[in-house]
């Protein structure tokens, strides 16, 4: 019986001939902790780690992204405690200027196809975007991975989702992810490793793959794995033989086909990412603010699209536009290409790289009754303040900022 993609990644990392339900020890290529819970990892290691709490300093590092630079004293204390530990043991810290940890891991080339990454970020399963394993875990598990390079994992059962057809022009990866949330809600894929196939997956850009895989957590899945296509292989300068794929005769617990032919942009309405509607169903929802960024939609491609759409237009009077590039590298490219200027001139605020508006209210919370359109991944009550958050792609976010109400990219095109 053939193995699935996840089973093959595990098999190549010490999991031998594993299949669903087995509990196996996995060798971890990238052992990380962020500023959230990172200090607890340090505390665990100081308590249990002995003389040499880190087995391989080359593979172990911290990524600060939640609260950067720290705007609360507890975060400042935690970050500094981590820095001191890292200096003592020779570990690298991707500090407050670097950006979202999971994106840094990909950009720096550590999170390559077929690799394994763990950390304290619950969206680390985003690594599925390059056909790699990633998982967020508690501080004890992560401390253990720092110390030994391994974690145990119960192999989840795998399901296959084929995305059939081609979405309508102007429809983005975010809309495809929202279509999956609409179809599967948060329980049908619960605890599964989901492999994504079909024409869309074959032609998706790395940025598209990042967006889709970043919403696996909201789908309740362990991970959404996209087998590396030509574009992704090229990004890493790899051949197919060097990446990991499912066996041809792999068996899945379930196989689904989701028709995305002609798919139009979608919006997740408060207060659940699975509460998905067509834009045309939403009647005249006035917006107070728009946030563009996060691990879901904060890549260079995302922000270039935002800049191109808003160029020569203006944010509607009374509406805030907050933009946060995911990483320092993205920031630098946008700066060099003059794209930040387009956003700035249209009336947007641009913040430093990181989780920004998604975590800890770095660039603003919503007040009671405030309506925000966000390109991030969660709109639970209280997550981004007391207001109501609608989740959408870049086109919808820009159109809503310019028109001052939830609007589609086609409506934007009518605005001069």
């Amino acid at each position: 019986m053939g193995r699935t993609l996840l089973e093959n990644i595990f098999a190549s990392h010490g999991g031998n001939d594993c299949s669903a339900g087995d509990v196996v020890w996995i060798d971890i290529d990238n052992r990380t902790a962020r500023d959230f819970a990172g200090a607890s990892v340090v505390a665990d290691l100081e308590k249990y780690g002995g003389e040499s709490p880190v087995s391989d300093v080359e593979k172990t590092f911290f990524t600060f992204d939640c609260n950067v630079p720290a705007n609360t004293i507890p975060y400042a204390d935690n970050q500094h405690r981590i820095r001191q530990f890292a200096r003592k043991h020779g570990l690298k810290v991707y500090d407050v200027d670097a950006g979202i940890g999971s994106h840094v891991v990909i950009e720096e080339g550590m999170g390559r196809p077929g690799t394994t990454t763990v950390g304290t970020d619950s969206h680390l399963n985003i690594m599925g975007c390059v056909g790699a394993f990633g998982q967020g875990m508690g501080d004890v598990d992560i401390a253990y991975s720092f110390k030994t390079g391994k974690v145990w994992f119960q192999v989840p059962s795998s399901v296959k989702v084929t995305l059939d057809g081609t979405p309508a022009p102007g429809t983005e990866a975010k809309d495809v992810a929202l279509a999956m949330l609409r179809r599967f809600s948060s329980h049908e894929l619960l605890g599964k490793s989901v492999e994504i196939y079909g024409k869309w997956a074959d032609s998706a850009t790395l940025s598209d793959c990042i967006t889709l895989s970043s919403l696996a957590t909201e789908m309740g899945a362990i991970i959404a794995l996209i087998p590396p296509n030509e574009t992704v292989l090229k990004y890493f300068d790899m051949t197919r033989q060097e990446a990991v794929y499912a066996d041809d005769d792999a068996t899945y617990e379930e196989e689904y086909v989701l028709d995305i032919d002609g798919l139009e942009p979608l919006v997740a309405v408060p207060h659940s990412p699975t509460n998905v509607h067509c834009i045309s169903d939403l009647e005249d929802v006035k917006v107070d603010g728009v946030f563009i960024g996060s691990c879901t939609n904060g890549t260079y491609d995302d922000l270039r699209l935002a800049a191109e759409l808003i160029r020569g237009r203006k944010v509607a009077p009374g509406v805030m536009l907050k933009v946060v590039p995911a990483t320092r590298r993205t920031w630098s490219r946008l700066l060099e290409e003059g794209l930040l200027k387009d956003i700035f001139n249209a009336g947007g605020s641009v913040s430093n790289a990181g989780c920004g508006g998604c975590a800890s209210g770095q660039i603003g919370m919503t007040g009671t009754g405030e309506v925000q359109v966000s390109t991030s991944n969660r709109n639970f009550a209280g997550k981004q303040g007391r207001g109501k958050t609608y989740l959408a792609g870049i086109g919808t976010a820009v159109a809503s900022a310019v028109l001052g109400r939830i609007a589609s990219i086609s409506e934007l095109e009518e605005v001069e």
Binding site: D22, V23, V24, W25, D44, Y48, G50, S52, S55, M137, G138, V140, D141, A143, Y144, K147, T148, G149, K150, W152, Q154, G191
Partner: protein, 178 residues
């Protein structure tokens, strides 16, 4: 802490109207009002303090008890308190039809035994009956009835015998031969 693979105890059967109590989340097990407590010994008093019908659990439970529940025990947040509160009371193990994924990790990592009994008929076992729980084979026996659940994984057994994840690492000589 006991590292026995066969546990003898008294069965605490958690029920709601239509059978074994299901979907007991970590807030019902250990309410978030008490998360600041860091001393494990002080956690016992809050066990099930927010579970309808079982708020007096901590007062009535005895060392040697084995908790039996329905589906999805320990869903919700990742708090370790929801495992440690049982340890503080001397509860030997929790058996349930299924467990929340994070709860399972936390229990295994801290060397607290849990046994999964998928498909367990709701009225097979009686409250406060004497029971024998065979962890390794995942078998619960009580009142002359036996139910075969899932055997403990090798990993869970090794961590349990070592007494916890870091104790296991120690034993494995820094974990290099894990």
């Amino acid at each position: 802490m006991s590292h026995e693979l066969t546990l003898n105890g008294r069965l605490w059967v958690l029920r709601e109207e239509d059978g074994l109590f299901g979907d007991i989340d970590t807030d019902m097990i250990y309410h978030n009002a008490h998360l600041a407590v860091t001393d494990v010994d002080k956690m016992g008093q809050y066990a099930f303090g927010n579970l309808a019908g079982y708020k007096d659990f901590a007062a009535l439970a005895k060392p040697g008890d084995i908790v039996l529940a329905g589906e999805n025990f320990g869903s919700g947040s990742s708090r370790q308190h929801a495992v440690d509160c049982f340890r503080a009371l001397g509860v030997l193990a929790v058996a349930a039809k299924s467990f929340g994924a994070i709860y399972k990790r936390n229990a295994i990592n801290s060397g607290f035994p849990i046994v999964e009994l998928p498909g367990l008929p709701d009225s097979l076992f009686n409250h406060f009956s004497d029971a024998v729980l065979d962890l390794e084979n995942g078998v619960l026996t009580s009142g002359g009835t036996t139910y075969q659940g899932l055997p403990m994984s090798t990993v869970a057994r090794d961590i349990y015998i070592a007494g916890g994840l870091f104790e296991y690492a120690e034993k494995m000589n820094g974990g290099n031969s894990a």
